[in-house]
């Protein structure tokens, strides 16, 4: 299958065949293989303690990636989620340092992050600047803004004993024994999943992403849909920023940058779960877990960081290659009708 073919993603779903499913199971199978390999290699890996800790460590990436999924589903990309995350962390940490009550800090943090989303939406939807360039520019601008707001990039440190509980629990609290960041990530991922795959908004967003020409028929809504995707992604990244500020009791400039590439990677690993290469929240979470468990397993197995990038890159290539090879075997037998591409998806429900 060439790049051309992956672009043809019809909105209609025929019933899956057993032979079609295998290539789509690659990512989950690799996830299972990673778990199996590391539980053999290190006794601590497959313990409840460790797995819960991995989830806790991964919550921020999971949040960012869930937001990224929405944008990619809408046919765009958001390189500026790191900026939304950072500005939210900055605002929240600054508010706590200025001794505002916790909910104000959280709200201000989210507002700063959402502002990034609104800027993106304006640039991409109103000015029609291509998403890659628009969000790349916002990345540059946001990095400058961070430096200008913090006297050149000074971290904001919060004294642990003086941080009000209502703020500290965002990153460090537990709900029924589950760390709060994990709860937040699961809730957000669940809501985003339902919104994308269970609402009219989600269906329309998918159509605008996959068939922009066709959906233009439905008029101005396209703009509102696109805008909502960028605002939502930034909002979720902002929540991740608040969690990060709370968890580290600090704002450290440019912390968000770390998550952008991994989030994009996770989203597209997730796309292999779909017959049409369509991104989805469950798929994204599989991608996030592959990255997280691989990093954790390599740390537990005592692999030097020298080799970790190599292992990660090879694992990624392996998932993708297997997916493609298996998909090829399938397409050589069953060829989807070419006319499917022109079909305008009916609005179901």
């Amino acid at each position: 299958m060439t790049a051309t073919a992956t672009r043809n993603r019809p909105g209609l779903r025929p019933a899956p065949r057993a032979a079609d499913i295998l290539p789509r199971l690659i990512a989950p199978l690799v996830l299972a293989a990673i778990m199996l390999a590391f539980s053999v290699l290190t006794p601590t890996f497959l313990t409840g303690d460790n797995l819960l800790a991995v989830l806790n460590q991964t919550a921020i990436l999971a949040l960012v990636a869930a937001g990224m999924t929405v944008v990619v589903r809408s046919g765009g990309i958001d390189l500026s989620v790191g900026v939304a995350l950072d500005l939210a962390a900055l605002a929240a940490a600054a508010a706590i340092a200025e001794r505002y009550v916790p909910w104000v800090a959280v709200v201000v943090g989210l507002a700063f992050g959402l502002a990034v989303g609104l800027v993106n939406a304006f640039l991409i939807v109103v000015l029609r600047i291509p998403p890659f360039l628009a969000t790349l520019s916002v990345w540059f601008i946001g990095t400058s803004v961070q430096q200008l707001l913090t006297g050149g990039g000074a971290p904001i440190y919060l004294v642990r004993s003086q941080v009000p509980e209502g703020f500290a629990l965002w990153g460090n609290g537990y709900l029924l024994g589950v760390p709060f960041p994990v709860v937040a990530a699961v809730l957000v991922a669940g809501v985003v999943y339902l919104a994308l795959d269970g609402t009219r908004w989600g269906r329309e967003l998918t159509v605008t992403g996959e068939q922009p020409g066709a959906s233009r028929i439905s008029g101005k809504r396209v703009g509102a849909l696109g805008a909502s995707a960028y605002v939502l992604a930034a909002g979720v990244a902002a929540l991740a920023g608040v969690v990060l500020a709370s968890r580290t009791y600090a704002f450290i400039p440019a912390s968000g940058q770390l998550y952008v590439m991994d989030a994009i990677g996770a989203v597209f690993i997730g796309a292999t779960l779909s017959k049409y290469g369509r991104v989805s929240v469950p798929g994204t979470m599989v991608g996030v877990l592959i990255f997280a468990l691989l990093a954790n397993g390599m740390n537990l197995a005592g692999l030097s960081f020298f080799w970790q990038g190599l292992a990660r890159g090879l694992a990624l290539l392996l998932v993708l290659l297997l997916g493609v090879v298996l998909a090829r075997q399938r397409t050589s037998r069953v060829r989807p009708p070419a006319t499917a591409t022109t079909a305008v998806p009916a609005r179901k429900g």
Partner: protein
């Protein structure tokens, strides 16, 4: 994005952002949203750099321009020095052109080149690497511009203001060794073996440990990064804590404080109070943890950053004022070793 038919989720978002702007307005107007406690000494660190003016007969820099090229301003050391040099030059009546390279080696070289084009009366380079910068520094020399360095030595530099990194490295190392009773295992962050101060401090650690054969460095060493250091270090240490259960880690070492803030947070949360954490630089966040009796953060080293910046500016002024003989090749400023006992005292003394 206008008022056009917004779908439900988007609509709720719009409502949310309304609520947000209302909150923002509240923030602007009232302080009733603030925590009730009296504002104590918890103000965030600001980069203000009122240099302790020991200025008796420092010549004026009136009409002189000083170019500054800092490698980065992402951590407290370089940022405070960067601000302090600028403040002192301005105080002496000089003009400043300041650049910082966002920790990018290539941009640091470009910054120095760009400063040469501006033909300043002197150039101060803050942190850097001899290998990568030497060609650019040679050009500074060729252009006849006096060069001053902070925290790294160069053959082209008229003066280097620095802490004694060898002393810092060996003192931290032997303090660590003594604190853990001369035996045990040490987890090490060694992501920047190429950065001069880090290289020196790490080599000193190794040197000291030659005489403590019962102390082992845990393999693999961990990677500290420039971006997202605290959270990243926290995760790595969390994983290490599970890999090496109680009794297998006695201390964590790093050549700077920022990764150690994450390390100490991980260790404290895991309740592994047998582990001691050591850093360098006296980042405010690290000092907060050292001051916290519950925290595993044990020690750091304050470099007299404000004084270092001011000293460099003074040296520039002396040099340009014709008093070259008063400018030594290297001006050492004494590091201050901070532990749980003296942290409060040192903080108020040095204004950290």
């Amino acid at each position: 994005m206008k008022k056009s038919p917004l779908v439900r989720p988007a609509g709720s978002l719009a409502a949310k952002s309304l609520a947000l702007s209302a909150a923002a307005a509240l923030v602007l107007t009232g302080c009733s949203l603030k925590e009730p406690q009296a504002a104590s000494n918890a103000a965030p660190a600001s980069g203000a750099a009122a240099a302790p003016a020991a200025a008796q007969d420092i010549p004026s820099l009136e009409g002189k321009t000083v170019g500054i090229a800092a490698k980065d301003i992402v951590h407290d050391f370089s940022r405070v020095v960067y601000d302090a040099v600028q403040a002192r030059v301005k105080e002496l009546g000089g003009k400043v052109i300041a650049t910082q390279a966002e920790a990018k080696d290539d941009k640091h070289v470009s910054d120095v080149e760009n400063l040469i084009s501006q033909k300043p009366d002197a150039i101060v380079v803050i942190l850097g690497d001899k290998t990568t910068l030497t060609p650019a520094l040679k050009k500074v020399d060729a252009a006849g511009i006096p060069l001053f360095t902070i925290d790294f030595q160069s053959e082209f530099s008229a003066n280097n203001v620095t802490s004694d990194n060898w002393a810092i490295g060996s003192t931290v190392a032997r303090t660590l060794a003594e604190d853990i009773g001369g035996k045990g295992q040490v987890l090490v962050f060694n992501g920047f073996p190429g950065v001069a101060p880090c290289r020196i401090r790490y080599n000193e650690l190794k040197l000291v440990l030659e005489d403590y054969p019962s102390i082992k460095l845990i393999q693999p060493e961990l990677q500290d990064k420039y971006e997202g250091t605290v959270e990243d270090a926290k995760q790595q240490v969390n994983d290490a804590l599970r890999r090496l259960p109680k009794g297998q880690i006695d201390a964590v070492w790093s050549c700077w404080d920022i990764p150690q803030i994450g390390a100490a947070q991980a260790i404290d949360a895991a309740g592994r109070d047998e582990i001691k954490v050591y850093g360098v630089d006296a980042e405010p966040g690290a000092l907060d943890l050292i001051a916290d009796p519950e925290s595993s953060y044990t020690g750091t080293v304050a470099q007299q950053t404000k004084a270092m910046g001011a000293q460099s500016a003074d040296n520039v002024a002396l040099f340009l004022g014709g008093q070259q003989d008063k400018v030594p090749t290297t001006s050492y400023l004494d590091p201050v070793f901070i532990n749980k006992e003296n942290v409060t005292e040192v903080r108020s003394e040095l204004g950290l």
